[in-house]
């Protein structure tokens, strides 16, 4: 694989990261919740699809039909039962709650599915790629994921800009108390946001599980990639999330070109560089010690 091809594959891989990051970005944007269980919820989606594929003997793509609405319900209920209460208790509590959820999900998955590594069948296009030239190949499945990511992000953008629930989401994100004074049920809006976030996570999780083997403890790694994509792309911007995912993907595949074991490291380094640059560019952002009283 040459460099240019590595970049191409990185861009395609970015689609998966963007899809994974969408829900994380949405929940932070609307409720200021950093959902540490996001990767684990993605994995939960993958396991639900696995269950259907194993027992109902349907294709993975078909399994998405019940898994995605199921994920919407899981997200809605999760918000109404657990996250809503923790939001009322202060800023740090949701972080702790989702951290606990991460551990609970991983252990439940281990209990029900064993710690074994599984994988999901990706059908005929799974391993197929288009040989453009002797140097270029285009893996169909990754291209499909990028396409789905663009459609999901575009759809979400349309929802936020053009619909009543979208306006209510943006209004509640800005000022939940005032939104309430206009008749918006802020708690229902929050639950809707979490439902969408968990559904996109499940979609990303199923795609991830079709690309590579997974086990009950793969959630946190996915969370880290999603988190990096969000930070690189900038918080609160959906297209920024796509860009962040692509930058992360390219950083990984290009580093892997140097040495395969640098795959993840390259992404982490770019994430770190962006983080430092961002903080440095903000006025006084890198100040570690508090300024004196004269400031």
């Amino acid at each position: 694989m040459n460099w240019a091809n590595a970049v191409l594959h990185g861009i395609l891989l970015g689609g998966l990261y963007a899809l994974l990051a969408t829900g994380l970005s949405l929940m932070f944007g609307v409720m200021r919740i950093i959902n540490l269980a996001h990767g684990s919820l993605a994995l939960l989606g993958a396991y639900m699809a696995f269950l259907l594929v194993e027992h109902a003997h349907i294709s993975t793509y078909l399994a998405l039909l019940p898994v995605l609405p199921g994920a919407l319900v899981v997200g809605y209920v999760l918000q109404r039962t657990l996250l809503e209460r923790s939001l009322r208790a202060g800023e740090l509590v949701p972080l702790l709650t989702t951290f606990g959820l991460l551990i609970v999900i991983a252990n439940l998955l281990e209990y029900f599915f064993s710690p074994d590594v599984h994988s999901l069948d990706s059908g005929r296009i799974g391993g197929a790629s288009w040989r453009i030239s002797s140097h270029f190949t285009l893996p169909w499945f990754d291209a499909l994921i990028l396409g789905v990511a663009v459609v999901v992000l575009g759809g979400l953008q349309l929802l936020l800009r053009r619909t009543q629930i979208g306006r209510e989401l943006r209004a509640t994100a800005a000022d939940p108390d005032t939104a309430e004074l206009l008749g918006v049920d802020a708690r229902r809006v929050y639950a809707t946001a979490t439902a969408i976030a968990v559904a996109t996570a499940a979609l990303a999780g199923v795609f991830y599980a079709m690309r590579s083997a997974f086990d009950p403890f793969a959630g946190p790694t996915q969370l880290i990639y999603a988190f990096e994509a969000v930070v690189i792309g900038g918080l609160g911007s959906l297209w920024g999330t796509l860009l962040g995912g692509i930058v992360l993907g390219v950083a990984q595949t290009v580093s892997a070109q140097i040495d395969v074991q640098y795959f993840a490291l390259g992404g982490h380094l770019v994430f770190l560089a962006v983080l430092i640059l961002r903080t440095a560019l903000q006025a006084g952002g890198l100040r570690v010690l508090p300024r004196g009283a004269s400031a």
Partner: protein, 235 residues
């Protein structure tokens, strides 16, 4: 039966008791001005009526229904709208989007987006601008228009002139004038006594959380109100 009945209402901010044993009736169709010094509890009273503040005791009854335990959005859906102090627009949303959020109330009626843009003509050319780019007067007009779009039966206006240039205040009141003259039920908090007396049918004065004076605007003298305002009246 009054449209709004407030009974023995207490409201606190931590240790501070902002509203003490307030009982108040608002009749359908009247414009009630709530006056009083800073910290007298006017804003807290309005916010408690709207449901944005939880009372520590007492009841709020709207159209015969006890709404004390209802959340703000449930009260909006029954027809109570508050224009909060400081306007509180959604800064990143356009004027039109700010207005359309009010559709969440699900109350159809006289006020539509087109109708409010006619009533507040200064907003028409601004509808695609983001709210944070507006001047104070424009923001206030948007905030009032937004509340009207919930088609309220009771409109609570909290210091609509706060922080505005005198000319902008004139603009806001000129736009509100038809509303005051209509059969709308309005409770407004206003620092400017002259303006409060000129638009209201009835005036209520608050002092340190209590109602100390109430009367028809036409029958009260400015001196009576200022005495109550500063706590000089013999109770």
């Amino acid at each position: 039966m009054s449209l709004l009945e407030v009974r023995d209402l207490d409201a606190r901010h931590g240790l501070l008791q902002a509203v003490r044993q307030v009982s108040l009736d608002v009749e359908a169709g009247e414009t009630l001005a709530l006056v009083g010094a800073n910290g007298a509890g006017k804003t807290t009273l309005l916010r408690t009526i709207a449901g944005a503040h939880r009372p520590s005791a007492g009841r709020v009854v709207f159209d015969g229904r006890d709404v004390t335990r209802l959340s703000p959005h449930e009260r909006v859906r029954l027809g109570i709208a508050l224009v909060p102090e400081g306007r509180r627009l959604f800064p990143e949303l356009t004027v039109e989007e700010n207005l359309r959020v009010a559709a969440a109330a699900g109350r159809a009626g006289r006020w539509t987006v087109e109708e409010v843009l006619e009533t507040f003509p200064l907003l028409a050319p601004l509808r695609r601008k983001v709210a944070k780019s507006l001047s104070g007067g424009e923001q206030q007009a948007t905030a009032i228009a937004r509340a009207l779009l919930t088609n309220p039966r009771l409109l609570l206006l909290d210091e609509v002139s706060l922080g505005l240039a005198p000319i902008a205040v004139d603009g806001v009141y000129a736009a509100l004038q038809p509303l005051f003259e209509s059969d709308a039920t309005i409770v407004l908090v206003e620092q400017d006594l002259g303006r409060a007396l000129s638009v209201a049918t009835r005036v209520v004065c608050m002092l340190e959380g209590r109602l100390v004076l109430t009367g028809a605007a036409a029958e009260l003298s400015r001196e009576q109100v200022t005495d109550a305002y500063f706590g000089l009246a013999k109770a």
